[in-house]
């Protein structure tokens, strides 16, 4: 046997090196998705069930109440946008959990992959999973209920971007917690977004909430997205100022979550949590 005495490596620093490592991680998750039909079906299952349930409920209400008839698309649009937030956050967090479940985290942490690159790859993987989950569901929403998500045009792009940014902030917090406190914190990854469901005002306006809870709702980028959707569907008005506020909040939350993730990672290195998780 004659293993080569040396091998040639690409440069290890700079944007090209970072992109190569991020690409490697995205490929790893693409291989995983591609390898399993049930895994792909699982991505689509819940968004499809939610969309159908809310769509049929809306169809029923539209026949009996004038408001529901006027607000055609509000429920289906709401559930589709909500699922963008949920699927994107879960896509991010579960991609990270996969490394722990497969006991691969030690290999990754020992590799030249930088924390920022790991985060970048999780963001791309979340978009990849979101696409796999939501494209078929959005098509079926059009087929069943005549709701065209892409028909929202520029507004959809603004809604989508804000929800995805928010999902990344939540993903960073939950994965940071798992890094620091181990699998005992896994439930945070599954539940964190649902904690925000009542105060995101997906299906009702912020004014429905008690006064003391409204500031909490208004501190969430998702609330502005759903208010924006209602404005579009009920008043045919696009509230650009809502989207700007959501974007500014997202800037604060994503930056804060990134700093928190780095701090929790360093804390995990100090208390030995990385080694315990990797073995």
């Amino acid at each position: 046997m004659s293993l080569p005495a040396a091998t040639v490596l690409h440069p290890q620093t700079g944007p090209a090196a970072s992109m190569r490592r991020i690409r490697a991680m995205v490929r790893r998750h693409w291989f995983l998705i591609r390898s399993s039909g049930p895994r792909t079906a699982e991505l689509i299952f819940w968004p499809l069930v939610s969309m159908l349930m809310w769509g049929f409920l809306q169809s029923h209400l539209a026949q009996t109440t004038s408001l529901a008839a006027k607000a055609a698309g509000l429920f289906v649009g709401g559930v589709l946008l909500w699922d963008i937030l949920v699927r994107s956050q879960l896509g991010f967090s579960v991609a990270f959990l996969e490394e722990i479940w497969s006991r691969n985290l030690g290999h990754l942490m020992m590799s030249p992959l930088r924390p920022a690159e790991l985060i970048g790859s999780l963001m791309l993987v979340s978009l990849m999973k979101l696409t796999v989950a939501m494209v078929p569901v959005a098509i079926l929403a059009y087929v069943f209920f005549g709701f065209n998500l892409l028909g929202l045009g520029l507004a959809f792009a603004a809604f989508f971007a804000n929800l995805v940014f928010m999902s990344w902030a939540l993903g960073l917090v939950s994965t940071g917690a798992v890094l620091r406190w181990g699998m005992g914190a896994e439930s945070i990854a599954w539940l964190i977004v649902f904690l925000l469901l009542p105060v995101s005002c997906v299906y009702y306006p912020v004014s429905t909430l008690p006064g003391w809870l409204q500031p909490v709702a208004l501190a969430l980028p998702s609330t502005y997205v759903f208010e924006g959707l209602r404005g579009l569907v009920l008043e045919q008005t696009f509230h650009g100022d809502y989207m700007l506020r959501a974007l500014l909040l997202n800037l604060v939350y994503v930056s804060g979550a990134f700093v928190l993730f780095r701090a929790l990672l360093e804390s995990a290195r100090r208390n030995g949590a990385l080694v315990q998780m990797g073995e």
Partner: protein, 266 residues
């Protein structure tokens, strides 16, 4: 392109591993208690000790996965608690206790790791490494479907993809049959010789240590109990094998062991 081994970062004179007064505590528990050692390029050093002796914590600090409470672990001159990403492409590790993703094929796994380490022409490198480690016929099988021995060979292939100058091996032959274990030891020996690589080996198999290591650092309660060649250690304890020495120390059976325990040096 960067040829591994080419020094472009001014660390030419730095030893592969330089540990100074390394200490790690978790609350009241002292895992590593001020150990110091330097490893020469091309050496094979075994870290030995019973469970809880501090081997894993020491290796984890060498990899930068654990930050020392005090002291320094330098690899190729780089402080691993602060700047480990400067040198991680020059090392690699293998452990049967850290898995590779189960639902990917062997080829997919190796290509992903090759890309992470920046290996040029990854597909060709994977093919060659697979041939040399006799896993070519496994490349398109799922890693999770392999036997323990096959997994170890794949894991070893992963650890050699970037032709590391420093290789950390944690019980590389655990759960292997004697024939495969012997073959894996040959691979490690040949690699070390051909690459002049430095190897840090943690093992509970004393025959393996005698065969592979030219230096033994024995740890007990986070301190260095002995640091010499395997033959030197056997001679000092008046035993026939390293296994007997290990048992003497673990059971504090002979005066040398008691003395060593009493004067364990940092």
């Amino acid at each position: 392109m960067l040829q591994t081994g080419t020094r472009i970062d001014g660390t030419a004179a730095a030893p592969p591993v330089d540990v100074r007064e390394l200490r790690k505590t978790y609350g009241d528990v002292v895992a590593v208690d001020g150990v110091s050692f330097t490893l020469a390029a091309g050496s094979v050093t075994a870290l030995l000790g019973g469970n809880g002796a501090g081997k894993t914590t020491t290796i984890s600090m060498l990899m930068g996965l654990v930050v020392p409470t005090s002291g320094e672990a330098r690899v190729f001159g780089v402080d691993m608690s602060r700047n480990r990403h400067e040198v991680l492409h020059r090392l690699n590790f293998e452990s049967p206790y850290v898995e590779i993703p189960m639902r990917l094929t062997v080829r997919q796994n190796l290509e992903v790791f090759g890309q992470l380490y920046g290996v040029v022409n990854v597909a060709e490198r994977v093919r060659r490494t697979a041939e040399e480690l006799r896993i070519a016929d496994l490349l398109d099988r799922l890693y999770g479907k392999l036997s323990a021995g096959q997994k170890t060979r794949v894991s070893l292939a992963k650890s050699l993809l970037n032709a590391p100058e420093l290789l950390l091996l944690d019980e590389p032959t655990a759960s292997l049959d004697p024939d495969t274990a012997d073959w894996v030891r040959s691979v490690i020996e040949n690699y070390c010789r051909s690459r002049s690589a430095t190897i840090v080996l943690a093992s509970h198999n004393m025959a393996e240590v005698e065969r592979l290591a030219d230096r033994v650092i024995m740890l007990e309660r986070g301190r260095i109990l002995a640091d010499e060649t395997p033959t030197g250690l056997i001679r000092r304890f008046g035993r026939a094998t390293l296994e007997e020495v290990f048992l003497d120390i673990a059971r504090r059976r002979v005066p040398q062991a008691v003395e060593a325990l009493g004067t364990a040096r940092r």
